[in-house]
Symmetry: C2
Subunit: 335 residues, 2 copies
């Protein structure tokens, strides 16, 4: 089979690619070709795999080529992130809405009805005067997005569902929890600090936390997130309970609870590297985000959240060691 | 002030235009110019009003010109209808999604932050395996559209809300109930028969009803619908309860109840002209539609549904007489 991952050189896309290449198959079919489309070049280990084809450039410019590629399946992860979309409205519409539409048209044009998993986000949820945020947001909560990113994700969910209903693709929508701990540098996502407050202290650096410790938010490790994407790809639409978006499992945490876990795993010195310095722009975005999530449909697919935030941190530490980055990434880890 | 009605030559748009011209003002401002944009030519009475400017052609082609028009307010009614969008997927995306996007960009480009009322539809509601249709659909029900038309309307609602949140326009979304009795010929809407089963018998003609008499659906007269559009335009966002879409008031009827009303107003001979002949394509669309609607937010704006379906029929009869069309349109009316 021939698979495409959009955003395939990104953190989550590359991790999904490695997982799929290690499995060698998806939904019972051998993976012969894995196309990684991304604006950035693919990591070397992936680019060197003989099954991997790399497409580098904006997704919008690649869709004509993808129309003739004969794809059997797609994980559509490529996206401008929330902070970028708030700062540059046109970028968000182009990178998220227009690119998704072009991708759907490319898949429709080939006529093979490829399976597609669209990575939406819990950023579709929000509140407005008529719709206060529910204490716990389940799969069926009314999405009232209050960011352009959330609006664009929600719009794309509905387009994926309609292209599927029309028989052009076989699409499923999943809403990702905030993924943490992300490696590397902070990105433009308003949620970036959810990784930074763990990653930077572990590296021995100071981290700025732009929101209060009481802020509650559901999170998931990269590993659980990738497992969710694959499970939903392999499930039947009936098992999924239809094409409506499925919340992936999240661990409901507060920022303070995350720091307690950091201290438990890495000691008080690591925790002391987190400095609270309120950023009104980020705090106002995060205020409107989900505080606690429920995920009944994902549970019915056998998916579970991470067991604890300590586990999420330990996973990150193990990943850094496996990647040979302990010297820099874990410089702040006692012992 | 300078106003635009897209779809301004259509049945509802022309009626709205006549109402606005008769009032002479909107939200306390004198209407100096009323632009009617439509694919079809505007009715002569409107085209001859010195305040009216007519733009004839596809909305998508007119948006460049509209960007420089200095509009203070917009009623965006132009739309491909539900049956058309199911039959021609590309038409629906172009006429509904692309045209709305181009209109929003045109309004943003001028920088005047015009007020805009977007006519969405109760076709945004539907059901799927995980989301059975609620017995009564209120403003806050989860939209699970099962037609391309419904998806496109829902997507545009969210774009209108986001362009408003960003301060590019001052938008409000209303969900119209099925409007009946529409004059003229059947159109491509799957809901067209809701007018046909009244209009054709009154004209002395046979009407085909493609669904069972037990089918329940909320409807509204053209007059109440126009009143709702104007009321929401004139209300503050706070009065509206935010930018989220507002259900306009609907009278919850069954097809059988509509025919009882027809008999009460026009006699048994009129009712006998309705022939039940199931059309699976239409019935399957209508099966997924709202059976009963609630409209708490519209009620708080002082809007009320029609008092009875008999009233809706009598309004239509009065309109036909006022338009001098009694000879043909009311040929089947006894007495």
């Amino acid at each position: 089979m021939k698979l495409l991952i959009t955003g395939g050189a990104g953190f989550l896309g590359a991790r999904l690619a490695r997982t799929l290449l290690a499995r060698g198959q998806l939904a019972g079919q051998t993976i012969d070709t894995l196309v990684l489309a991304d604006q950035a070049p693919a990591p070397a280990d992936l680019a060197h795999d003989p099954r991997v084809q790399v497409l580098t450039g904006p997704l919008l410019a690649q869709c004509d080529a993808l129309a003739g590629a004969g794809l059997d399946g797609v994980f559509h992860l490529a996206s401008a992130v929330s902070g970028e979309c708030e700062a540059d409205f046109d970028l968000g519409l182009r990178a998220n809405l227009d690119s998704t539409r072009a991708l759907l048209e490319a898949l429709r044009a080939f006529g093979r009805v490829p399976r597609l998993v669209f990575s939406s986000s819990i950023a579709v949820y929000g509140s407005d005067p008529a719709h206060p945020m529910p204490a716990v947001v389940d799969d069926d909560a009314l999405p009232v997005p209050q960011t352009s990113y959330g609006v664009q994700k929600l719009v794309c969910e509905h387009l994926v569902a309609d292209y599927s209903r029309k028989g052009f693709i076989d699409g499923r929508n999943v809403r990702l929890m905030t993924v943490t701990v992300r490696p590397g540098r902070p990105n433009g996502a308003a949620s970036s600090f959810f990784s930074g407050i763990i990653r930077e202290p572990l590296a021995g650096e100071t981290a700025i936390c732009p929101v209060d410790p009481s802020v509650a938010h559901p999170v998931a490790s990269p590993g659980r997130t990738v497992a969710g994407l694959i499970r939903v790809y392999e499930a039947s639409v009936a098992e999924c309970g239809g094409r409506g978006a499925i919340n992936l499992p999240g661990l409901n945490m507060t920022v303070g609870g995350m720091l307690d876990a950091l201290e438990a795993v890495a000691g008080p010195a690591a925790r002391a590297r987190v400095v609270f310095q309120r950023d009104e722009r980020i705090a106002s975005i995060v205020d409107n985000w989900v505080h606690q999530a429920a995920f009944a449909r994902a549970s019915r697919l056998g998916l579970t959240p991470d067991a604890s935030f300590e586990d999420i941190i330990r996973d990150y530490i193990a990943d850094c060691r496996a990647a040979g980055q302990a010297d820099t990434a874990l410089k702040g880890l006692a012992g």
